[in-house]
C-alpha cells in the first residue's frame, strides 16, 4: 500500500506547484517600462513619461482573475521635455515629489475577466495613490502572458514575462493637485497609458 502513496503525493505536490501563481518583478533591467501621461493645455498638450517603475504582480495563467499585486512609480522619474514645466511639475505646488516620492496602484479585484490565448483583459479595481491621496479606481487592463520568453529578452535568464497595458483617465482635482486652480491653463483630466513588462525568473 505504501508504494502507491508516494506517486500520488508527488502528483499532488506537482499539481500544487503548477497551480501556484508566479511572481513577476516589474523592475525592468532593459529600461523600456514606461507610463505616458498627457493633459491638455492651451498652447500644446503637456506630454511626458515616467520610467521609474517597480512592483510585483502575482499572476496565475490558469486563474488570471486571482491576480494581485502593486505597481509603484517613482514621482521623481516623471519627465517632460520642457525644463521649466518639469520643475513646476515636481514642485510643491503640483506633485511635490519630495514629500510624495511614490505613485502606486494596488490591485484589489478583477471583474469581466476574459482570456483568449495568452491575452487576458479585465476591469481591475484597486487603490490608486497620488500626491498623498488614495482613491479606489477601476481601470481596463490587458495582460499578456509570454511563457518562456524571458531568455529571449534577457540572455542567461529563464522564465516568463507578463506585459501589462492600460489606458485610463484620472482627475487631478481628486488628488488635491491644484484643486480648482489653473483650469483654463492645464486640464484637470490626465490621461495615463501604461506599457510595462514584468519577469518571473525560474
Amino acid at each position: 500500500m505504501k508504494p502507491s502513496i508516494i506517486p500520488l503525493l508527488t502528483l499532488t505536490l506537482a499539481t500544487a506547484a503548477y497551480a501556484a501563481p508566479e511572481s513577476f518583478d516589474f523592475k525592468d533591467p532593459k529600461g523600456v517600462n514606461n507610463i505616458v501621461f498627457s493633459l491638455d493645455a492651451p498652447l500644446e498638450s503637456v506630454n511626458g513619461s515616467a520610467s521609474g517603475v517597480t512592483g510585483t504582480v502575482l499572476f496565475d495563467p490558469e486563474n488570471p482573475a486571482a491576480t494581485t499585486g502593486k505597481i509603484v512609480v517613482a514621482s521623481e522619474s516623471l519627465i517632460v521635455p520642457n525644463p521649466m514645466q518639469k520643475e513646476h511639475l515636481h514642485s510643491a505646488n503640483w506633485l511635490d515629489v519630495a514629500k510624495y516620492p511614490e505613485i502606486t496602484f494596488e490591485v484589489k479585484s478583477f471583474a469581466d475577466t476574459k482570456t483568449e490565448g495568452s491575452v487576458t483583459s479585465a476591469n481591475v479595481t484597486g487603490s490608486f495613490s497620488l500626491h498623498g491621496v488614495t482613491k479606489e479606481i477601476t481601470v481596463p487592463v490587458k495582460l499578456t502572458y509570454l511563457k518562456d520568453k524571458l531568455a529571449s529578452r534577457v540572455p542567461n535568464l529563464k522564465g516568463d514575462l507578463l506585459v501589462l497595458r492600460a489606458n485610463f483617465n484620472i482627475n487631478r482635482e481628486d488628488f488635491n493637485i491644484q484643486k480648482g486652480q489653473y483650469e483654463d491653463k492645464v486640464s484637470p483630466t490626465i490621461n495615463l497609458t501604461l506599457s510595462i513588462a514584468g519577469a518571473a525568473v525560474q
Binding site: 532593459k30 514606461n34 513619461s49 521635455p81 514575462l161 506599457s195 513588462a197
Partner: protein
C-alpha cells in the same frame, strides 16, 4: 551707433527666425530634450528615452523679438550724424 543697433536688431531677428525654422518650427514651448521611442521586440513595448536637443518654441521667438525690439528702440536715443555744410574754404577751386 544708431545704425549699428539697428543692424544688430535685424541680425537678432534673422538669427532667431533661421534657428526656429531649421529646428522644426516648434509652435509649442521651448524644449531641451527630445523623446526617442525604441521598440522592445519581445514584449512589443515602445520604450521612451530622452536625448538632449534644443527645440526653440514660441517663447524663444517672443523673447528674441522683444530683444530685437529693444535694440531697435534704443537706437532712437541716438541722433543720426548730420552732414556739416561745406564751408567756403572747402569748395574746390573754381
Amino acid at each position: 551707433m544708431k545704425r549699428m543697433l539697428q543692424l544688430l536688431a535685424l541680425l537678432v531677428v534673422l538669427a532667431t527666425a533661421i534657428t526656429w525654422l531649421v529646428t522644426g518650427a516648434n509652435r509649442g514651448w521651448t524644449k531641451t530634450s527630445r523623446p526617442v521611442k525604441t521598440l522592445d521586440e519581445v514584449t512589443g513595448i515602445e520604450g521612451i528615452t530622452y536625448q538632449p536637443a534644443f527645440l526653440p518654441g514660441v517663447d524663444f521667438l517672443g523673447a528674441s523679438l522683444l530683444a530685437a525690439g529693444l535694440l531697435a528702440g534704443s537706437s532712437l536715443f541716438f541722433r543720426t550724424p548730420r552732414q556739416q555744410p561745406l564751408t567756403k574754404s572747402q569748395f574746390p577751386n573754381q
